[in-house]
């Protein structure tokens, strides 16, 4: 297999882009990525998206975007793995370059949630779960994670406040991110006093609903210096799955897809969690963030709150978690979230993260989840200048 580099990235601010269509949104991110590199053309476009067929009445996203970008007849297709679509697309793009099949590939993701009206968006997002055995009973993405959070608090005797503190840190980070949907600081009380959704989850435990697009251009590492003077290596990448139905898991408090994908990616990159300087992790809800921190190996199980209160996850701590603000504050443009994460860690390793910059970041990790942990995609990136 060939080693693979990321040459450039482009991303839009996450927000309610009422005036932009699905294709225009991706076009904005893709143009920015193309502007930053001198490649002769794109062999393929592999894009993540979850909800376009429900909310924008659009399938065949690959051809739609290839046409919009003026790159036809290049190969183009969409990858769908619910909220993990972006991460799955990164894996597919990596494999296509590493294998030698393509030299220049654009991956990325786009999501246009605000095209949904009424309850359409919640319903569409819920389809990440098991429609026949979970949604049927009136559950949603939020209530399934509430079941996990209640169980966590009961088993590990961790207070509800600890989860609120994770949201506070995310907003503190996101306040420095020009691309964030909710770039403002909050307090523990903001979270505790926000609207109850599904106990114990309140509104400020949840990622907001927003639109966004991100694009990333990859090529073989050995050719990268020809096309860019600042690039990053993808040194490890892996995906793994778990039961789609959360009640079928023997341990509700471990995201086994994350444990397995992270282990594979760490081994592939020949690093350990201690080598990671910066991580963009998948905190759809504060409980998802807590489980992810633990299952990626940044904390013992049941103890994320201890390291959190010690400042281990803040800029300057042991590992900076979500300098972007994560899904909580940067936002969660579902099928694009995994692409945002990879673009953000690339930005960090290129030293271009501005007020979000983690000093001397050498190695970074991204973790993108589909469903309530039914799939996870992990990538490990290394500074290559």
């Amino acid at each position: 297999m060939r080693r693979v580099a990321i040459l450039s990235y482009g991303l839009t601010k996450v927000e309610k882009h009422w005036r932009k269509s699905l294709r225009e949104l991706f076009g904005d991110a893709a143009k920015e990525a193309l502007k930053e590199t001198k490649i002769p053309g794109l062999d393929a476009l592999i894009v993540g998206n979850m909800c376009a067929s429900d909310l924008s009445d659009q399938n065949n996203i690959g051809a739609l975007l290839a046409d919009h970008l003026g790159i036809i007849p290049s190969t183009a297709y969409r990858v769908e793995a619910a909220c993990g679509s972006g991460g799955a697309a990164v894996l597919a793009a990596y494999a296509s370059v590493a294998s030698g099949m393509y030299n220049f590939v654009m991956t990325g993701g786009v999501e246009k949630l605000t095209d949904g009206v009424g309850g359409e968006t919640t319903r569409s997002l819920g389809k990440a779960a098991d429609a026949e055995y979970e949604l049927f009973f009136g559950s949603s993405f939020v209530s399934l994670n509430a079941l996990i959070m209640n169980h966590y608090m009961h088993v590990y005797h961790v207070s509800r406040e600890a989860f609120a503190d994770l949201a506070v840190l995310m907003h503190k980070n996101g306040a420095r991110n020009p691309y964030a949907q909710l770039p403002f600081e909050i307090t523990r009380e903001t979270v505790l006093n926000s609207e109850k959704i599904a106990d114990p989850i309140t509104l400020y435990d949840c990622a907001p609903v927003g639109d966004g697009a991100a694009a990333i251009i990859m090529c073989p590492l050995e050719d990268a210096p020809k096309y860019s003077d600042n690039f990053v290596e993808i040194s490890g990448v892996a995906g793994a799955t778990d039961t789609i139905n959360i009640s079928s898991r023997s341990d509700l408090l471990s995201l086994n897809s994350t444990v397995v994908a992270a282990d594979k990616a760490y081994k592939m990159a020949k690093v350990t969690p201690a080598d990671i300087d910066v991580a963009e992790i998948h905190d759809t809800f504060t409980i998802t963030g807590a489980l992810s921190i633990e299952d990626l190996g940044f904390s013992e199980k049941g103890k994320f709150n201890k390291l959190l209160s010690d400042g281990a996850f803040e800029p300057g701590g042991v590992v900076t978690i979500n300098p972007s603000g994560g899904l909580k504050s940067r936002g969660h443009p579902v099928g694009a979230t995994g692409s945002y994460q990879v673009a953000e860690v690339t930005m960090q390793l290129m030293g271009r993260a501005g007020r979000m910059q983690v000093p001397n970041a050498e190695a970074g990790l991204t973790q993108n989840i589909g469903g309530s942990g039914s799939s996870t995609y992990v990538a490990i990136l290394r500074r290559a200048r």
């Binding site: 009424g118 309850g119 919640t122 319903r123 819920g126 098991d130 026949e132 055995y133 979970e134 949604l135 049927f136 009973f137 009136g138 559950s139 949603s140 939020v142 209530s143 509430a146 079941l147 996990i148 209640n150 169980h151 009961h154 609207e195 109850k196 959704i197 599904a198 106990d199 114990p200 989850i201 039961t243 139905n245 959360i246 009640s247 079928s248 509700l252």
Partner: protein
């Protein structure tokens, strides 16, 4: 929901019909093509126990479309007497009276209806044991 889809899921959702791996004894619910523990595709019918205890729950206050009239309602994961688990609604109890570990039993109840002209969907919920 289409009538054929509702109809074909009746055994699992309304009669607790699960399956068991004939090779290793693993209980499988919902049904799957192969056993996740040992890989065997030799699967036998098996009926889940109707009693268990509450492993975890949530009170849904902001419900999905179609469940507005029921809110707040309780969803729970029940650990059955044989150790297997399933998720459904917890019924016949005030949300504030639900506790982790409480003993529960299966009962057939209405879950939802598809508007004025659609089908009415029934399935097993769990209620506190008498």
């Amino acid at each position: 929901m289409s009538v054929p889809r509702y109809w074909r899921e009746i055994p699992e959702r309304s009669r607790l019909e699960a399956s068991k791996c004939a090779t290793c004894g693993n209980v499988i619910y919902p049904n799957r093509a192969r056993c996740a523990k040992c890989g065997s595709d030799s699967i036998e019918p098996y009926r889940l126990p109707e009693r268990g205890k509450l492993l975890t729950f949530t009170v849904v206050r902001n419900p999905p479309r179609g469940f507005e009239k029921m809110a707040p309602f309780v969803l729970g994961i029940i650990e059955l007497e044989d150790g297997s688990r399933l998720m459904t609604q917890i019924t016949d109890v005030m949300p504030g009276e639900v506790t982790i570990g409480m003993p529960l039993e299966a009962v057939l109840r209405k879950v939802s209806e598809d508007g004025d002209s659609g089908i009415i969907e029934y399935a097993i919920k769990f209620r506190p044991t008498f």
